[in-house]
Amino acid sequence: MLYDALIGPFAEFEFMRRALAAVIALSLAGAPIGVFLMLRRMSLVGDAMAHAILPGAAVGFLLSGLNLFAMTAGGLIAGFAVAILAGVVARSTGLKEDASLATFYLASLALGVTIVSIKGTNIDLLHVLFGNILAMDDQTLLVVAFNATVTLLVLAVIYRPLVIESVDPLFLRTVSRAGGPAHLAFLALVVINLVNGFQALGTLLAVGLMILPAGIARFWSRDLTVMICIAVVAAAVSGYAGLVVSFQTRVPSGPAIILVASGLYIVSVLFGRVGGVVRQLFPGRHLEA
């Protein structure tokens, strides 16, 4: 009975095994990026970027179908274009960068939806907006795994400057010039992982598998390394449970995964060891020293 519910679907159907492999790859790469997004107070920037890369990914999608390479390239171009344009407008006019970014990502999202609906079908639009992890073919799976590997390798290279830049940017500036390049590389990783999440979760939810696990991790540890591990595990568990729920109930897979993650998040907010609500309401008697 339990076997039928939890393991059966994966033993029986290849598309479920592929989906599980994909969601684990996405968790391994996306969750650490999400932790840094959160700690650098860029959670909503991730969200905005997810919208901003839509037209690029859409053009890639229409030119070559569900080819993740084309979509990644298009998404990277669109993402950087929006990030740079927003930065330029903010610096040359005095408009705040968040306001400027909001304008560009909204325009970009509208453009993307327009492109998809003019050239493609409504199915295509739904696919781009919400993804379909159950339709993962071998090639796509390889691209997802490739992007995840690249992410982890690049993250390993920029880890030190990225951490120091997050804590004490001025110090990094006085000892090294690595801060700027590390920040840019990090933005590129954000875009790569958003595009990577496309196939599984779509533009709108791709950022969810990055930010929600990070939010969960924050409530369980004060240590960066532990936080990253918790985030990865939380993302993978959400992915697995979401797939099971989706298989049993016909809830679409993407929303199911994000809903499971949201559930874990709520549990963490309530019962988390670090700053959880219950812990704050009933902190126990104060200590001696």
Binding site: L39, P161, S166, V167, D168, F171, T174, V175, S176, D223
Partner: protein
């Protein structure tokens, strides 16, 4: 031999000078106090030395030191205290010059970090997140990092602001220890008593140099009076400065 050489340096923001036409040099191994009222340009000058701020005019020579030979402790560090990093790891970033992106932190380096933490009196704090420290403890942590940077030139911007006397005494001892090791130390300070009794050389700054030399000769009521009278506000309609002949002029 000089560690820092100012050649007609003007530093400022948006073309408005905050430090005007400064000439002079800091000898290698000197222990220099930079004093002056708020807005006198002390922080600006230190930022110029460290290289964060490019001079509007003139130049600063560092006598063969590159930016890695300088340790800088800013006045209001833009440190994100909520970031989950331990005292040990934070102090360890001071080893950047040796480790860079990938260099391992071996047994010797780990002991160095522990010794640095111990020498600022924070034994037992190694695993505490920096967010849980008090202001004085954080300042001790920053000094421990400076210690690890093992720099020839140490630049401290008002390091004892809002720090209690016990901590000040401890950290001042560290500063004098650095001086004893032959490092060049520049510190922006407000406490005249401390300057008088611990710093051999003083620069009185008020948008431009008021006086510079041995502390006993420089720290006179007249000079301090001149510094106090300095005008703080930028003049928006100021014309381009013609005083390029190197004479000091307070704006």
């Amino acid at each position: 031999m000089s560690a820092v050489h100012f050649h007609n340096v003007t530093l400022g923001y948006d073309r408005h000078p905050a430090v005007h036409h400064l000439n002079g040099e800091v000898a290698s191994g000197a222990l220099v106090a930079v004093i002056g009222p708020n807005g006198a340009g002390k922080s600006t000058l230190l930022r110029g030395i460290v290289g964060i701020l490019k001079p509007l005019d003139g130049s600063i020579h560092l006598g063969g030191l590159d930016s890695r030979d300088i340790a800088y402790l800013p006045q209001s560090a833009e440190i994100d205290r909520s970031f989950p990093i331990s005292v040990y790891d934070f102090v360890g970033t001071g080893l950047w010059r040796g480790t860079g992106l990938f260099g391992g932190i071996g047994k010797a380096a780990r002991e160095k970090i522990l010794r640095a933490i111990a020498s600022v009196g924070l034994n037992g704090f190694e695993n505490r997140p920096i967010g849980t420290l008090s202001g004085g403890q954080m300042q001790r942590v920053l000094f421990a990092r400076v210690l690890l940077q093992d720099a020839r030139l140490i630049v401290l911007d008002e390091p004892f602001n809002a720090i209690d006397s016990k901590t000040t005494t401890d950290l001042l001892a560290l500063v004098k220890h650095w001086h004893g090791e032959g490092r060049t130390v520049l510190a922006a300070l407000h406490d005249m008593e401390m300057v008088r009794s611990h710093f051999s050389e003083t620069l009185v700054l008020a948008r431009g140099p008021v006086a510079w030399g041995p502390t006993a000769e420089v720290l006179t009521p007249e000079n301090l009076m001149v510094a106090m009278r300095m005008c703080e506000a930028f003049d928006d309609s100021a014309t381009a400065c013609a005083g390029d002949d190197g004479h000091s002029q307070a704006a």
